[in-house]
């Protein structure tokens, strides 16, 4: 069972300098937050979809589709409940609250997608290395990469453990929500314990290979910004500046929206 998030696709996005990818990721976040109106979010949405397709990150989104569906549904409901507007659509839902809910949902999905693109197309080391070169302390960067590394380990041990418990007669498929949550308990304990045990060995192995032995360290990975990197970077910054310009001019807001 492959539980790795990084996909070795060697796409155009994979080949970009990790620093550029991190910067794009941050810029994307700002761009997503600029507008309230879903129509104004379309350009960035198109860009993100293009990146999803190029990098192959759609596969990873598929893996978390259930989470995405739950998020979408609950966010659509909540934002409709917590805002209103002048033009009534049906029942308590107005056109304004509807488009606001769509925008907020889109925002969430886009942020997740942007993150997914980054970790699908960037190796752990590249990511950390990129962050460090952008000024983050090495240890902090390493901690982030370790956290990312834990995800696949936990997923694969969860699969084995659920098989072991099902063999003992645990039926995970039936019952109401509460009963089901209760049934997951026999899975959680071994998952946690085996994760803790693993991280303990991980820590030992880390120190045994000289982690933090010296103040300075070499980085085997080196990046050089190529032409593509500069082009992408310039494009992103221009896109960003244009977006900010329109936002300052007051475009992209929803007229008549009342938030509680």
């Amino acid at each position: 069972m492959d539980a790795e998030i990084y996909l070795d696709n060697n796409s155009f996005i994979h080949r970009l300098d990790p620093r550029v990818k991190i910067i794009i990721f941050l810029l994307t976040f700002v761009a997503i937050l600029l507008f309230q109106n879903p129509l104004w979010m379309l350009p960035i949405t198109v860009l993100i979809i293009a990146q999803l397709i190029i990098s192959g990150a759609l596969v990873n989104l598929r893996r978390i589709r259930y989470i995405l569906i739950v998020l979408t549904v609950s966010s659509m409901i909540l934002w409709n409940l917590f805002s209103t507007g002048e033009t009534q659509l049906f029942w308590r839902i107005s056109v304004e609250s509807m488009s606001f809910a769509i925008a907020r949902t889109l925002l969430m999905i886009l942020m997740i997608s942007a993150g997914m693109i980054l970790i699908t197309s960037t190796r752990n080391e590249e990511l950390v290395n990129g962050m460090i070169r952008l000024g983050m302390p090495y240890r902090v960067g390493f901690a982030i990469s370790t956290a990312l590394r834990l995800v696949p380990t936990i997923v694969s041990s969860t699969i084995t453990i659920s098989q072991a418990q099902r063999s003992r007669g645990l039926d995970l498929e039936s019952g109401n929500l509460l009963q089901r949550i209760k049934k997951f308990l026999p899975l959680l304990v071994p998952v946690f314990l085996s994760t803790i045990r693993n991280t303990n060995i991980f820590g030992m192995a880390l120190e045994s290979k000289g982690f933090g032995a010296k103040e300075e360290r070499t980085f085997y990975l080196v990046f050089e910004m190529g032409r593509a990197d500069y082009l992408v970077l310039v494009f992103s910054i221009v896109f960003m500046l244009v977006s900010i310009y329109f936002a300052i001019l007051g475009f992209g807001q929803i007229e008549g929206l009342i938030r509680f």
Partner: protein
Amino acid sequence: MGEPVVSIRDLQYRYRGQKTFALDGVNLTLDRGEFLMLMGPSEAGKSTLAATVNGLIPHFHIGKLSGEVIVMGRDTKAYTVAQMAEIVGMVFQDFEAQLFSTNVELEIAFGPENFAVPREEIKIRIDENLKYVGLEANRNRPPSTLSGGQKQKLAIASVLALKPEVLVMDEPTTDLDPISKMGVFEITHRLCKRDDLSLLMVEHETEEALFADRIALIKDGHLIKVGPTREILSDVDLLESLGVMPLGIPKFFKAVHVPDLPLTPDEGVEAFGTLNLKINDQAYQQMIAEDQIALKVHHSPLIECKHLSHTYKGDVKALKDVSMEIHRGEMVAIIGQNGSGKTTLAKHFNGLLMPTAGEVNVNGKPTVDQGIFTLGQSVGYVFQNPDHQIFSEKVFDEVAFSPRLRNFSEDDVKRCVAEALEAVGLTGQGEEDPFTLTKSGRQRVAVAAVLASNPDVLILDEPTTGLDYREQRSMMNMVKKLNENGSTIIFITHHMWVVAEYAKRAFVMKDGDILLEGTTREVFSQGDVLRDAFLRPPHFVEFSYRLGYTFLTPEEMIACLEGVHD
């Protein structure tokens, strides 16, 4: 020889919160270029001692330490583990947890990077070490896609890249299948020839100890005996009493009272000739006939696979048209490399997996119609790692989990649990916390938990992995007893001697197909086919081939020996 590379003096160590000393008064030296093997039962202090050499003790595992460990003039107390990493490399048993890069090259680069080795030099070291362990072809792959054996080889390479003076390996092959074990041992055989590297290895495989210069036996934190390999391995009784597996060949020759015990198959064959020993052919034929008779007792089919195939998502053909039968009351072993389809096959017996083609019948009904919940009542499955299933705070609750799920009355639950605990030898320990038990104790809890629902069939996936020789024996004796009391037993194992001594029938799997099946003796008599499946019969069986027979244990051979009676 000069100064020893490692010198341990009056070492005493106690883990925090423990009352007893994990190490007590240990004195040991390791010379330059020497290969020292550390052997002993579980919980003897082997790993603890290994961890003192690079300073994981006392820096990582906090506890009370007295005495000193000096490596190349550095007192481990005064240096951090990371600083020691330059001179002491450490390879752990768990091959998953000690790798943390997403790419093979970077994994090797990690150590040198930490010591600010120039980039050009790192490049050279990566090439050198990948070549040394034979992973050049995988240099750009993520370590998570490597096999267990390859991961362990990578771990060794990543440590060697630091150019250490001492390499400590803590049970590097315990979790590996036979072919991967051989691969790792092949590397250690080359390492031990190097005179610039001293090797300290903790290992359970006694046959591998033959390559060591010296062996240190440890128990309860005390060094029992340290001496040249020949001397230690000839002391069959001492090894047995310590719970370390003795070699079959010296064991056999000891029984016929030979002063200088042969150790290897070569020496054995020679000694057999010079001593003029002979096998009584009539007794041998009698023994083979008895094998057949024992099989015929069990004939009602319990599990039948008909043209079973299983293809995993992504087109991985794990089983290809397998047809086999297991009879009620049998004790059979399934052996083969990782990835040969053993576990996939066994998971079809209890409905964890369903055939993608063909059919599996249990008790005469197809598994597809029964489903895992129903099947689980008649077919129990003990997973390889007990820590994957234990979650209760009390042994009793853990064992009661299945009966309770099946809505047994509380009285019945109590009865089932008591019976199951008795069967695994844990009577009276129902109130204990499973996590405070040893690995073998937890393994027993896992078996009891499956036994509690009274299954007809018990499938055990590597029940002896991670246990020491004595624990392996007692685990298998317990399983044998269950079999004698009527349970059908199917076990998957990598330990060939366990198959030789406990299975009545064996299936050898390779590439998703059954390569060989028959009585254990029939299977083991096909030495070449086994080797083709990368399974290596124990030295003793090998020795008997060379004499033209297939004996599974020294006892069998002694019983068939002409004119030798004690």
